[in-house]
Each structure stands twice: as structure tokens, then as C-alpha cells.
């Protein structure tokens, strides 16, 4: 409008092209572009990873994910240790939900050594409880965290407080707050303490209030809605092409949930339906995760109501220090808060695993998907897109 009034005709060639794709040519020597490193030390980046952005003005032309800042060679270190000694190392591969890795190692070793059916029923219910509590602790950070990328910081503080209450319950159950080592081959390490259910119910009531408050804070906020709607859309065609799983797949109508598709533990005895959306944008991903928060609280209540009052917590296992597992291989998977996680476990008949390989959802989400989605976006939205994909670097570099 102002240009029309002044009679100014800008040279279109000098302006950023409107549609930027992966094929758009970039000549760095033309001085039209700039390189920006986002991370590895940046409050908005999820964990220690860096994104190398090539920008023109504020439009992202290229993005490259750099990982390796957390690499400690966990998979290699586990190859040098006895089966049971792999536990303390494996849980550090995923800080947000370490219980998933405990389950993988416990389940794989049980399956390969023929103890899969020997695990007592009570122990399996406790495993499920601990996995759902881990999901809840992850979502209490993840859902308000999405608001945090659009400057709604207060929700994160509420979430961290409530997550701490769940960590208190973990401490009661396992003796540890973050890395629990609760699920072990043959069962779990301890029974439910007296009064646990009442204290958990108290916390869940607080979380019920939080769910309503976070809805008002985020989904009733016009800035959040305007910025998140239509941002970084995942289409159903992308799901298989890029290996997208979990909430990121469900946000565009592709209903994938390991708990429903390949039920493990007693998930087939619980009544739930994974939420889906159709838009595939940041808004619908956040909306699904908010609904998952409600669902997880409900699942914990269902588990506590349906589980037996008491029972054996583990079956009799061989001496773990002289434990040899016959040659074999397996893949065990579960649905984590971020999507399908799994572990490829190979044994060679010795007392140590031959190879373990973790399949984390972020391996695809943070590299091929993120690099593709950032192209053509505004620099200010990069954090929002990254958090909406729930990227977690430790499971990439292991």
C-alpha cells in the first residue's frame, strides 16, 4: 500500500522468494544469506543439540541438525558389561522417560532366556504403573513447554512443580527420583508402599486442576492460536516416508499407537482410545498431547483400581552374575510419550550382550523431519517446531 503511494517498485529478485523448498539454490558468496547456530547451549533448544540455520532475512532457507554433544557411547559400554550391569547405563539414554529402557532390557533378556511368561501378574501391573507415571512426568514438562516457546512461561513452572510431585511418588516406589532402575529382569524391585494410592490420587487431583488451567492459558490464548495454527504441517503421506510415529503421526489422522497395535503388558485390559487430529500442525500436536495428559491421568487411575492388591514382585531368576543367555535376537517396542520406542537386542551365548540398539522416535523427528520442516519457516518459530516434534538428543547419539 505504502509502496503504491510512493510509486516505489522493489526489485523482486532482491527479495526473499516466497516459496522456499529444498531445491531452492543458495549461493553463500552472494552475501544475501547468513548462517546462524542455534544451540548447543540455548534455552530454547530441547537438550544439547544444535541447528545450523542458513537464513535470508528471517526466513530459514536450510537447516542442519548437529548432535553428539551428549555422546558417551552407551551402546558400546553395555556390550562390555554383564546383562544386569547394563541397566544403570541404559537408562541414561533417555532422561525424560528412563523407565522405557529398563523395560526394554528386562523384556529382551526375559524373552531370549525363556522367562517371558514367568513374570508375576502383580509385577506386570507395577511395570505398567511405572511406565504410565513416566509418561505423565514427561507430558507435564512437554505440554506447557510448547506454550513456553510462545512466551507463555508460567505454565512451565506449574508443570515442573507437578512433575516434582510425581517424582516424589517415584522416590517412594523405587528409592530414586529420575533414574529409577525399578523394572528388572523377572519383575520389579519393590511392591507398592502403604498409602501410595491415596497420595497418588491427591497428586492426580492437583493435575486435574492444572489440566484445566493450562487449557485456559494456552488454547484460549489468541497469540498461541494465531502462531501455532497452520505451522509446520505433517501430512499423512509424510508419516511412512519419514518414519514419523506417536503423537506426531496421530496429529494428521494416522492412528498409530503401540499400546493398541501390538499390546504389551496389560494394556488390552485398559479402556482408552488414543486421541487423533486432522490438521497436522503445531496446534493439533499440542492439543493431542493435552488430551493425552487427561488420558494418562485416567490410565493411572484405571491401573490402580484394576491391579491386584498384592502378589509376587518377581520370579526366580538365575544368578545374575553368572547369567548366560543363548544366542538369539529380538526387537521389543513400546509407546513412549514421544512415540514408538524400541530396542534391538542381540545375544551370542556369552554373559554379555553382543549388540543393543535403541530406536528412539527423535532419530527421525529431529534429523530428517526437522530439517525438512524448518525450510521456509520464520526464525522465531524454529523453537516451537522443534518442541512440537518432541526432539530428545540423547536417544539419537546413544
Amino acid at each position: 500500500m505504502i509502496n503504491k503511494f510512493l510509486g516505489f517498485k522493489p526489485d523482486e529478485k532482491l527479495l526473499p522468494s516466497q516459496t522456499v523448498t529444498e531445491d531452492t539454490e543458495i549461493d553463500l558468496s552472494s552475501h544475501k544469506y547468513q548462517k546462524i547456530w542455534l544451540g548447543p547451549n540455548h534455552p530454547g533448544v530441547t537438550g544439547n543439540m544444535a541447528i545450523e540455520l542458513t537464513v535470508q532475512g528471517t526466513t530459514v532457507m536450510r537447516a542442519k541438525t548437529h548432535v553428539g554433544y551428549l555422546h558417551r557411547g552407551f551402546e558400546k559400554l553395555i556390550e562390555r558389561r554383564l546383562f544386569v550391569q547394563g541397566f544403570p547405563t541404559s537408562i541414561r539414554m533417555c532422561v525424560a522417560e528412563p523407565d522405557t529402557n529398563e523395560y526394554f532390557i528386562a523384556r529382551s533378556t526375559e524373552e531370549l532366556s525363556g522367562y517371558a511368561d514367568a513374570v508375576p501378574e502383580y509385577a506386570n501391573w507395577l511395570r505398567m504403573l511405572s511406565l504410565e507415571m513416566a509418561r505423565l512426568a514427561g507430558l507435564l514438562r512437554g505440554v506447557p513447554g510448547q506454550g513456553g516457546t510462545f512466551a507463555l512461561g508460567i505454565g512451565v513452572q506449574w508443570g515442573v512443580y507437578l512433575r516434582d510431585l510425581i517424582l516424589d511418588r517415584f522416590e517412594e516406589l523405587s528409592g530414586a527420583r529420575v533414574y529409577h532402575m525399578y523394572i528388572i529382569p523377572g519383575g520389579v524391585r519393590g511392591a507398592l508402599p502403604d498409602g501410595f494410592k491415596e497420595r497418588m490420587e491427591d497428586n492426580l487431583r492437583d493435575i486435574d486442576d492444572f489440566i484445566i488451567r493450562i487449557k485456559k492459558l494456552m488454547f484460549h490464548n489468541s497469540v498461541f492460536k494465531q502462531r501455532a495454527k497452520g505451522l509446520a504441517v505433517i501430512t499423512p503421506e509424510m508419516v511412512d516416508k519419514y518414519g514419523i510415529v506417536g503423537t506426531n503421526a496421530r496429529c494428521c489422522g494416522v492412528k498409530r499407537d503401540v499400546r493398541k497395535d501390538n499390546p504389551y503388558l496389560y494394556y488390552d485390559k485398559l479402556d482408552f482410545d488414543p486421541p487423533t487430529a486432522t490438521d497436522g500442525d503445531v496446534y493439533s500436536r499440542t492439543w493431542i498431547r493435552w488430551q493425552e495428559l487427561i488420558q494418562t491421568v485416567d490410565l493411572i487411575r484405571q491401573i490402580m483400581a484394576k491391579m491386584p492388591k498384592k502378589g509376587d514382585i518377581r520370579c526366580k531368576m538365575p544368578n545374575v552374575l553368572n547369567w548366560k543367555i543363548p544366542k538369539g535376537e529380538t526387537y521389543v517396542r513400546l509407546e513412549s510419550g514421544r512415540g514408538e520406542m524400541g530396542m534391538y537386542y542381540v545375544t551370542d551365548g556369552s554373559d554379555k550382550p553382543r549388540r543393543i540398539n535403541l530406536r528412539g522416535p527423535s532419530y527421525n523427528h529431529a534429523i530428517s523431519v526437522l530439517e525438512h520442516m524448518l525450510i521456509g519457516q520464520d526464525v522465531a518459530d524454529v523453537h516451537a517446531i522443534m518442541v512440537s516434534l518432541q526432539t530428545c538428543p540423547p536417544e539419537i547419539e546413544r
Binding site: V67, G68, H71, G73, E75, K76, L77, E79, R80, L82, V84, Q85, E111, D240, K241, Y242, G243, R256, D261, N262, N319, V320, L321, G328, E329, T330, Y331, R333, E340, G342, Y344, V346, R354, R355, N357, R359, Y363, N364, I367, S368, H372, I396, E397
Partner: protein
């Protein structure tokens, strides 16, 4: 799963077929037919989701074992296609044209095992380690302990406890504890 294996074995020579669970089967295919079989499974049998690619070092046989783990979202089952390649001259046909996530796996395997995938994009870029000129670190012949001793000089006055010994005392107090007693056990 049995029908699928029968179909596959009519087209390709399968080895080491193992039904691990009702919904998981592993089978080995020759290096020449592997990518063709994976493409067939993706396009005609509905195994559209690549769960993961992995590599195992069988140093005693002089082979690397590659794994293409595929999932069928309709039938909810998985098939693991295994390929054995020579360890001395590790080279495999790239599958980056099949899924957009494959090049990342190949880039990682190139760095951690030294396997070459000709034509795979950004293969030479660093993945998790920068400026690494030792043996690729996931190979069985790379000794992490020896590397740590060599790179980070030993610190004096440092006591180390054998975790296995500690666990033995804690978990099995009535069983022999010392190394000599353990030897006698065996």
C-alpha cells in the same frame, strides 16, 4: 507370517529364518537381493514403515550383519531382513531412495562401523564424533578401556571397586566371594 516367508522364499533364497514371536520374524537374504526384497516388501506386501536399520559386528566370522526392520501397519507385524557383508571390505547398496530416514542410519553406520554406502547423501559428514581418526568406535576390535587409558592419563590415588564383586556380596552373601573361590566354582 508363515505365508509371507513362503512367498519370499519362492522369490529369494532365505536363510536363518527365525520366528521370534507371533508378530516378529527374522530372515537372512544375500547382499545382491536384499534391497530388491526390501522394496518388494514395501511396495507389494504393505511393510511401509521402516522401524530401524542396525548393524552387528560378528568379528569371529569376519562379517557385518545389517538389519532392515520393517513394520506392517495393517497386519501389525514385523520382519527383520538381515544381510551379511564382508568385514574387510564393507560395502552395501544404499537404500536412501526408499525412505527419507535411511540416509541418517547409513551415515551413522559409516561413522561407527566404517561401512560404505555409495551414493548415500551426506555420508562423509560427522554424526556424533568430530575429527575421529581411530578405528570406527562400534567395531568389536575397538577397545574402549584401552582408548580411555591411552587418551586420558591415569589419575593417581584413585580407588576402583569391581561392581560385580560388590553385587555378589550384596545379592549372594552365602556364595564364594573372592576371585580364587569363583575360579574354583567353575
Amino acid at each position: 507370517m508363515k505365508e509371507l516367508i513362503e512367498k519370499l522364499s519362492s522369490k529369494y533364497e532365505l536363510q536363518e529364518v527365525v520366528y521370534q514371536r507371533d508378530n516378529l520374524v527374522f530372515a537372512a537374504i544375500s547382499k545382491e537381493n536384499a534391497i530388491e526384497a526390501v522394496t518388494y516388501l514395501r511396495d507389494y506386501e504393505g511393510y511401509t514403515h521402516l522401524v530401524m536399520m542396525s548393524c552387528v559386528d560378528w568379528i569371529e566370522d569376519g562379517k557385518y550383519q545389517l538389519l532392515y526392520l520393517l513394520h506392517n501397519p495393517k497386519l501389525k507385524n514385523d520382519i527383520g531382513i538381515k544381510v551379511y557383508i564382508d568385514r574387510e571390505n564393507p560395502e552395501m547398496v544404499s537404500a536412501h531412495h526408499l525412505w527419507k530416514s535411511v540416509w541418517t542410519y547409513q551415515r551413522e553406520m559409516h561413522e561407527s562401523f566404517g561401512i560404505v554406502f555409495p551414493g548415500s547423501p551426506r555420508l562423509e559428514e560427522n554424526f556424533v564424533v568430530e575429527g575421529w581418526d581411530e578405528t570406527p568406535f562400534m567395531r568389536r576390535d575397538f577397545d574402549t578401556h584401552e582408548y580411555a587409558e591411552k587418551t586420558y592419563f591415569p589419575r593417581g590415588n584413585r580407588k576402583t571397586n569391581d561392581p560385580a564383586e560388590y553385587m555378589r556380596k550384596k545379592l549372594y552373601p552365602n556364595q564364594p566371594v573372592t576371585a580364587k573361590q569363583r575360579k574354583d566354582d567353575k
